[in-house]
Amino acid sequence: MFREITLGQYYAVDSVIHRLDPRVKLFGTLIYIMSVFMAGGLSGYLIVTMVYMLVMKLSKVPFSFALRGLKSVVWIVLMTFICNAFFYTGGTPFIKYGVISISAAGIKYGVAMSVRLILLVLGSSILTLTTTPNELTYGLEKAFGFLIKFHVPVQEIALMMSIALRFIPILIEETDKIMKAQASRGTDFDTGSIIKRVKNYIPIIIPLFISAFRRAGDLALAMESRCYRTGYQRTKMYPLKYTKADGKGYLVLMVYLLLFTLAKCTLLYTGNSGFYTM
């Protein structure tokens, strides 16, 4: 059952976005995040939302599937809104009770912050929805490849990440097994004080660590027996190769960044605050 767990939330379908080089997608995510931070008002958010919708359409990932990614941050969004709406001190409050002060400006600010957070989460999840963890690792390896010059073991770190990806489901399954074994011996994980509950987890952590270290030892041996050595330039079965589409992707991203920055600067300069604040 646990072996089914896929990290991230890759949605397997063939689309233009799926076929893009992971490096383009990483760069795109970076640009997108920059534009979300630059946008501060209604028109800015509208543009970003439209861009998000367009890319989602191209990616063929159902919107409902992408929304599931929001579930984990719903509380953070809510907290952000409440903090800003109830404790904002800048505006003129129409309700004031102790530390709580609710003002129109505060509510606006809260909404803006929540929207920004939602756009950030939704937008960057396109990356993980359309890129397998492996491609992502390899993309990162390539994108940060220049660090090798500064003696950063980029290849080794990337291999470590991909091995971690392979073993996480196995270790989760193992945790479950150990927990069931301890539970059948009468360990109670659900009741008692916090300290007691934490203590109950010790008999899980220790066997898990022992087994993880044994696995690591076995794996190191298996890797060595298959001619693995550190610091030696490995090749790849499927090396990353830019296609024409990737070039166009970069171009579109650059144009988007340029236009967005221009628009923002113009609006700032002309003092039209519509783009800047809500």
């Binding site: 072996r3 076995d218 790849k236 079965m237």
Partner: protein
């Protein structure tokens, strides 16, 4: 010239006390000499802790001799000469006991490609090697799958594919079947035998299960780091006392045949399957009836 030749090999592990201080040496391999010819199907038998894995790691140059020497294709293994070591590891692959702990890639084909990628083969050639290897183990249709979705037997096949992709001369299987169910165990054994017969790959099968070795050309029995005996299956299986000393169990049917042989010299030994037993029984019975 033998393919692998081991001369008076000794491998020592430190013995430590409770505080981790070294208090002595323990000979996990204690003066072993053996020769293995290319293309042979070799079985090494011994109970837990008899030193089988330690010996296996010498074939693969994962461990190095404390005393004595090991020669592969007439080249002395020297832990300071990396070229020899990498060459040997390419030539001699190793399948380990735990299927989960030897698969590195996140997909089947990626794992198979791990070895060729390590030695810097070009991409197009890797694809060919990987496809050939996966076809050989009949796992081509699962090439994009995560290894986590495979059964133990399938994982061991992927592990073998990863070795085949390096075009090896020899595969060492260190109790590779011990964590499998009986069906997958038989299937894997059949496949390994095929590799030996068709591809002429030398197989070194390490096990404590005597039923798995009946097809071997040569058996070596280990106990406490020493070689107790070696020879053909027939020769070794008749040394009932030695086998008992090594803590191994002869298949019941074989033991029964040996007992019958003591009663009636006409009944042959070296019987490993119920079918063989039935045939032999029929032969002896018919002969006796014809005489009467």
């Amino acid at each position: 010239m033998p393919f692998i030749s081991i001369k008076n090999l000794v491998h020592q592990f430190h013995v430590r006390d409770m505080n981790g201080e070294i208090t002595g040496e323990y000979n996990a391999i204690d003066d072993i000499s053996m020769e293995i010819e290319e293309g042979q199907f070799i079985a090494i038998l011994g109970r837990n802790g008899s030193g089988k894995s330690t010996l296996a790691r010498h074939f693969n140059n994962l461990l190095f001799a404390d005393k004595g020497s090991i020669w592969i294709n007439d080249i002395l293994v020297n832990h300071e000469n990396e070229d020899i070591i990498w060459n040997n590891r390419k030539k001699i692959g190793m399948v380990f006991q735990n299927p989960d702990n030897q698969i590195i890639g996140t997909t089947v084909e990626e794992d198979t490609a791990f070895g060729p990628e390590n030695i810097g083969i070009e991409s197009e050639n890797i694809i060919t090697l990987v496809n050939e290897a996966l076809e050989a183990v009949k796992m081509k249709h699962k090439s994009k799958m995560s290894p986590n979705h495979l059964s133990g037997g399938q994982k061991q096949k992927v592990a073998i594919a990863g070795i085949l992709a390096l075009k090896p001369k020899c595969i060492v299987l260190d109790e590779a079947t011990s964590m499998l169910d009986p069906h997958s165990r038989k299937e894997l054994m059949k496949f390994v035998l095929e590799l030996n017969k068709k591809e002429k790959i030398t197989i070194i099968m390490i096990t404590h299960n005597m039923e798995e070795v009946v097809n071997a050309d040569k058996l070596f029995i280990m106990n406490k780091g020493k070689l107790l005996t070696h020879g053909s299956v027939n020769e070794v299986f008749n040394e009932v006392e030695t086998i008992k000393e090594a803590g191994l169990e002869i298949p019941e049917i074989t033991e029964l045949a040996i007992k019958l042989h003591h009663v009636n010299q006409n009944f042959r030994t070296g019987i490993f399957t119920p079918e063989e037993f039935a045939n032999e029984f029929e032969r002896v019975y018919n002969e006796k009836r014809n005489k009467e």
